[in-house]
Every structure is written in C-alpha cells, then in structure tokens.
Symmetry: none
Subunit: 303 residues, 2 copies
DNA sequence: CACAAGCATGAAAATTATGTTCACCCTTTC
DNA sequence: GAAAGGGTGAACATAATTTTCATGCTTGTG
C-alpha cells in the first residue's frame, strides 16, 4: 500500500512512553477505542483527552501525518484490517511476565502474521527473480551457493540449504564464521553468497558477504534494515519486515519473515529448475520415507 | 461502527447505475482510486469529479452517512480490509511451475498465516502450561531438557534450544539419531524430552521419545497429527495445524506452526523464570552486541 | 540561586473544510 | 406549452482544522 498506516496502533503503543504528557493522553484515548477516535472530530478528541485541538494537531504531526485527516484515515484503515483478521484484535501489545498464556499467544500470533504480511507486501520480487534464476542456473553447472547466518538466522539458513540441496543445488551453510569466510574466499564469478541477519549489523555475516563479493560472487543480503551495513555490502537486498513493538517480539517474528523470503526463493528455484528436478524431489522424499513408520489406519488414541 | 461500510465499495458499484449523473461521477471517482479518495477533502473530490461540494455531501447522505467524514472513514476502513484480505484470498490454490512469483508469494503467505492462526486456535494451552513450568523448574536445578527433530523440524528445535539456553535452561538439541538416543537414555525423572516431527512418523524421533519415557522423563510431542505414533508415544502433545492444500505447502508452513508453538513455550518459560533470568537475557544480548557494528542514527519516519 | 534557553501547552485568531440554502435548469407529464 | 419536480451548483453559514503566540514549566549554567 502506498499511504500506509501499517501498524499505526502498534507504533502508538511503542512510542507512547517517549511522548510528552498531553500527547500521551491523546494516544491513550485512541488506543482505548480506535473506532470512536476515527469518528471523532479533532475538537471531540481534544476534549475527551483533556487537551486542546492544537495539541491533537501536534500529535498528528509528530506521528508524521500531514494533519488530522491523515491520522483519522490511518486509524480507520487499521480498524478495517483488524476486522478482517480475527487474531489481530489484540494487536501489538507487549508481553509482561504476568500475562496469561492466551494473551501471550494472541500477541505472538499477531506479531508473526503481521510480519509475514508486511514482508510480502514490500518484498522486491525482481530481486527474488534474479536470485532464483541464479540459483537455478547453478544446478549441475558446478556453480556454488554459500549461505551464512548466525544465531536465530541460522535456523532460516539451515532450512534453506536443506531444501535447496533437495533440488540438487550445490549449496552449503557454514556453522561458524571461520569456515564461512574460507568458503567465501573460494567462491568465483557466477557463484552466489547469501547472508542473513535480522539487524544487518552482525559483523561475521557482513565480512562473509564482503569476502564473497571480492571474489566476484553475486551477493544477497536478507535483513530487516535495508540501510544497514549488510545491505550496503550486498548487491541484492531482500527485506524482511518486522513489527517493532518490542525487541523480543521483533526477534521472534523476524524468523518467520526470513523463512517466508527463503521459502519463496526455494519455490521459485524449484519452478525454474523444472522438470529435471521434480525427480530429485521425489527421490529425496522417498529416501526419507523409509525412515518413517508406514501410513496406517488411525489407532484410536488414549488422549 | 454504527453505519458500517461493510462492502461499501461493492455497494457503490451496485447502486451506481441507479444514481443521478453527478453522484455517479463521484462514485466512479471513488471506485477508481479509493485510497486517493480517502485522502482528499470534499473540495478536491468535487473538483476532480467535476461536481460541487454540495453534491458530494448529498452523495454521503444518499449512502446513509452523516456527512463527509463518515464516508471518508468508511472508505479507509475498506482499504484496510482489502489490504488484509488480499493475503487471505489465495488460500487453497496450488503452485504450478509456470505461476508468476506474485501469485506464488500469495499462496505461501496465505498458507503460512492460516497455519499459524489455526495452530493458535487449537493449541492446548494447558499442555503448554505444563511444559513451560517443567522447563522453568529445570533452570538451575540440574534437570535437563533434550530436544530432537530431524529434517525441517531441526530448524525449529535448534531455534528453541538456542533460545532456552539464553534463559539458562540446561537444554540440548542433538543433530543426529544416535546421540539423541544416548542422551535420551541418560535422562531421569523430572527431566524433559521434546520430540518434533510434522508427520509424527519419523522413526528416530519416536524412538527418542520412547527411550526418554522409559527412563522416566516427561515426554512432549510436537506434531501435526495428534493420532500419529509420535503423539501416542508422548505424554503431552502440542498440535501444529497445517493447511493441507498441497504436500509441499504443508511442509513449508508446518515449520511456521512449529515455531509458533515453540515460541510460545519459550516466552512462557521466560515469564515463569522471572526475574532471575531477565538478567541472563540482558547478558546474552550484550555479549552478542559486541559482534555488531554500532547502532546508527534512526530514521525519524517521514509520513 | 538567579537566569537564560528550550520545550510543552492551550487560548485565540486565521484559515480551510463542510454543510445548508436557494435559485436555476432541465426533464417529464398532463 | 405550462407546471411540477428532481438535480445541480453558487453562495453563504457553520463548524472543523491549523497556525500563531503568550505563558508557564523544566533544565542546565554561570
């Protein structure tokens, strides 16, 4: 969407503590009943929050809107969104130690789904296209794909590699910085290096991409911050949006965003390597099958 | 909302032919670009539709709104709804080799978000409660937590372990079946074993849980099939729903569901281990910090 | 401690947007 | 072809929004 109020309510909640007192009162009022706020005139809002219209205007400006109308529309948009998505009613609250599980779950779900949706909204499909084609070309051609991510991002990279290998892509994930750097140094033009880091500031990953670039490989960054050092180092950037409601939540949902992006890359590669690879697909599926117990009629469980 | 705009745009389209000419022009303009309409003042709208403000007011009344503000909010709400719905529509389609990326993305997003929501809907919170408390008790008490999953599920388990370790839980993830079995054999009453398998039929994982149970550990299965052998082996079952639109998609979104469940477990443990652990949390965050390049000036969001 | 500098705030003025009235025009109908 | 009736916009009235400005409060400094 062009003009977005995406996560407006979330942002309000986040920024609320940093706001001057009068503005806080306005924010609270809006958060307490967004629907009503969207209907109110600026005077209403001012009165009910015990402030003045001038303050409300300032409030809008502070949030980056041109004026009250902008805020109103943004709130209304959010209401529409929430109405459509049942789970997002509880949107964007933070988690406190004493919150019941039901609520915690609601918060996590909304953070995750919103992260996924926003990532999808803003993803640069052209870049994905390029990445996928490059990987697809690497199949059976002796070209290599090196993927690197540490900490939480490692889960995403492992998964990508695991899947790409099923497609017969010569693809590796390095568990630690040293071997990642060595592998990067062995890359050549035509090869591909993918670095994943939520913050875009993980030194090891940046060095990994830089090393790869130096040796002529194409470099791709997967990060939430398109202006981070990692992004600047890379040729192509795939942006993963996250909901900055709280630091902890952002970290959790970042993984979902990363997976989404990498899933798409994976599927796109599978599409582009058709049909030679469909076979590889089936083969690996069958190999795994033998480790599974046979499909069987369902036993009536005790639980 | 009192006068709601449910399907406002649809209604406009329906009623358009029956409207007088000037009002039609207004309706068309709105339908052509609802977003822009929501941003415009009544004068803008009048000018661009070649009518007068008076006409636009009449238009609002005709539709049952109290005035222009009402219409505006209704349009904005619709926009939000549409934006949200966009990712929900594509459900139940499959992916074919020739589908464009945009569509593939839509299918993946809807499969993932739906999997997340359904998992949340059906999750047995009581079981989560028990698991979380057990893990929380394990902190600093010499009790152990062993987690095992192979293939795709390994990503989820690695992540869980990574996070739990930050909370000072004595927690391990085994990379392969043999060491998983040995570790399971070393478990004792009070310890916990978590086995993750989408299908619930991965032999290694089942054996792992069985071994753990034999030694008196509490056993938890995370699987999409609550009546699978894995589930029957385990004491507690956390069910991850997936959308069975296609085999491939189910596998992709299964990971999101697993992550959701394990995220919840993680947060629940963090809650229950407060406050001794808040410190551990900060500490690890800081240790990682030094590997990051310094934070840089934050973009104060324009608009 | 006095004082300046800097913000936050609301009162009131200025501007703009919105709603209302009314005169006109174009159909339609008899 | 005249009267009735709805549709329309110009002009006005009202209300909402924005801007300006004076004031009080905090913060840092000599």
């Amino acid at each position: 969407m062009a003009l977005d109020g995406e996560g407006l309510l979330a942002r309000l909640r986040t920024e609320l503590p940093g706001l001057p007192e009068a503005l806080q009162r306005v924010a609270e009022l809006i958060l307490r009943d967004p629907e009503e706020a969207a209907q109110s005139t600026i005077v209403d809002l001012a009165e009910r929050s015990g402030t003045s219209p001038a303050t409300v205007t300032r409030f809008c400006r502070t949030l980056g809107f041109r004026g009250y109308a902008g805020l109103r529309v943004a709130i209304a948009t959010e209401i529409g969104r929430a109405a459509q998505a049942r789970w997002e009613i509880d949107v964007d609250r933070d988690i406190a130690p004493d919150h019941p599980l039901q609520r915690v779950l609601g918060v996590i779900v909304s953070a995750d789904t919103q992260a996924i949706r926003e990532t999808a909204d803003r993803l640069d499909l052209t870049a994905v296209e390029v990445v996928a084609s490059t990987i697809a070309e690497a199949i059976g051609s002796g070209r290599r794909v090196e993927v690197f991510g540490v900490g939480s991002s490692a889960a995403a990279t492992t998964e990508l590699v695991f899947r790409l290998q099923r497609l017969r892509v010569a693809c590796w994930h390095r568990a630690e910085a040293h071997s990642a750097l060595s592998s990067a140094a062995l890359l050549r033009p035509g090869d591909l290096a993918i670095g994943v880091s939520h913050s875009g500031r993980t030194r090891e990953v940046i060095e990994f991409l830089a090393e790869a670039a130096e040796h002529g490989a194409m470099t791709v960054a997967v990060t939430s911050y398109p202006r981070s050092p990692l992004a600047e180092t890379a040729e192509l950037v795939l942006t993963t949006e996250t909901h900055e409601t709280s630091f902890r939540l952002a970290a959790l949902s970042a993984l979902h965003s990363q997976l989404l992006v990498l899933d798409l890359v994976y599927v796109a590669v599978a599409q582009r390597s058709h049909p030679a690879v469909d076979e590889a697909f089936e083969l690996t599926a069958r190999a795994v099958q033998t480790h599974r117990l046979p499909e069987h009629p369902i036993r009536k469980g005790k639980r």
